[in-house]
């Protein structure tokens, strides 16, 4: 049975939790495109899902090598979106974690932080320039009708992305603290 759910997720750890909950209920993700999740029925708890942000886009030789390595390690790449990868492994094959030490965990968090931080800066800049164009054309109604709302929207989106990157930085700080006594 196929099931399609539209849902926006910004926090990849929450998204991962949700996908694992779905799998526990017998729905296995088979494809992801922007906010659209396609599930097929599976046995309850058959799969464990993990999300990862790659260094490069899928299709890049380095990413391909990594995906091949994962495949050899018995990890299935279910779907990719931008640099995000949706991995899964059969729960019957034991625990499935991508990162099992603090260092590699921190590396991944840094990648996610950079991803959101770059987006945040871009949105804030474009938003800000739209707002100022809108304001300087405030007497010429037509232009500012577009620039002002668009600018404010982008600005708010930028702040939101900034919040996501801040959350990652907080996690990195916690991991670094843990690293002073454990590896």
């Amino acid at each position: 049975m196929k099931k399609v759910i539209w849902k926006p997720y910004w926090d990849f750890e929450r998204e991962e939790n949700w996908l694992n909950n779905m799998a526990a209920q017998g729905f296995a993700l088979t494809r992801y495109t922007w906010c659209r999740y396609v599930f097929e029925s599976c046995e309850k708890g058959e799969y464990i899902y993990r999300l990862e942000l790659l260094d490069n886009m899928p299709g890049n030789p380095q990413s391909n090598e990594y995906l091949r390595f994962m495949e050899e390690a018995g990890v299935e790449c279910v779907s990719t979106y931008l640099r995000w990868v949706y991995f899964r492994k059969k729960a019957s094959e034991g625990a499935f974690e991508l990162y099992t030490d603090i260092d590699s965990n921190i590396n991944h968090c840094r990648r996610v932080n950079n991803f959101w931080f770059t987006l945040a800066v871009a949105e804030l800049l474009i938003g800000f320039s739209n707002i100022s164009i809108g304001l300087s054309n405030i007497d010429r109604i037509g232009l500012s009708y577009f620039n002002l709302p668009a600018g404010i929207l982008l600005f708010v989106l930028g702040l939101f992305f900034f919040h996501l990157s801040w959350k990652m930085r907080k996690k990195i700080r916690q991991l670094l603290k843990k690293k002073t006594i454990r590896e």
């Binding site: 990862e52 990594y66 390595f69 994962m70 050899e72 390690a73 018995g74 990890v75 034991g94 625990a95 974690e97 991508l98 990162y99 099992t100 030490d101 260092d103 590699s104 590396n107 991944h108 590896e183």
Partner: protein
């Protein structure tokens, strides 16, 4: 030469031990799990990063006589063996001191 200061991570130590005989990625994961009686389960992402760093350092190298040429196998180098021996000496010191102090109290 491997640097003589600092501990190896548990993951790196067990990867190096595994590669005394040639092995591919999944083999390393299985071997480490077995060696540690299921205590250490290497994440595939962690393993991949460690393999690349060890290749860069020259502590391991690709093994050219792999049984299945589609799967990349690796083997420890002489440098890698030096690093393992240094680590064993370091661990022995930790163990000795630990036992001397804590073990002494118990008696």
């Amino acid at each position: 030469m491997p640097e003589t200061v600092g501990a190896l991570t548990e993951a790196v130590f067990y990867i190096l031990l595994s590669l005394y005989s040639p092995m591919h990625g999944y083999g390393i994961m299985q071997n480490v799990k077995e060696l540690s009686s299921h205590r250490v389960e290497l994440g595939a992402g962690t393993l991949y990063g460690a393999i690349n760093t060890l290749l860069e350092k020259g502590w391991i190298r690709p093994y050219e006589f792999a049984a299945d040429s589609r799967k990349k196998e690796y083997k420890i180098t002489e440098f890698g063996k030096v690093a393992v021996n240094l680590e064993i000496a370091r661990l022995e010191e930790l163990l000795l001191n630990g036992k001397k102090i804590v073990g002494g109290e118990e008696q």
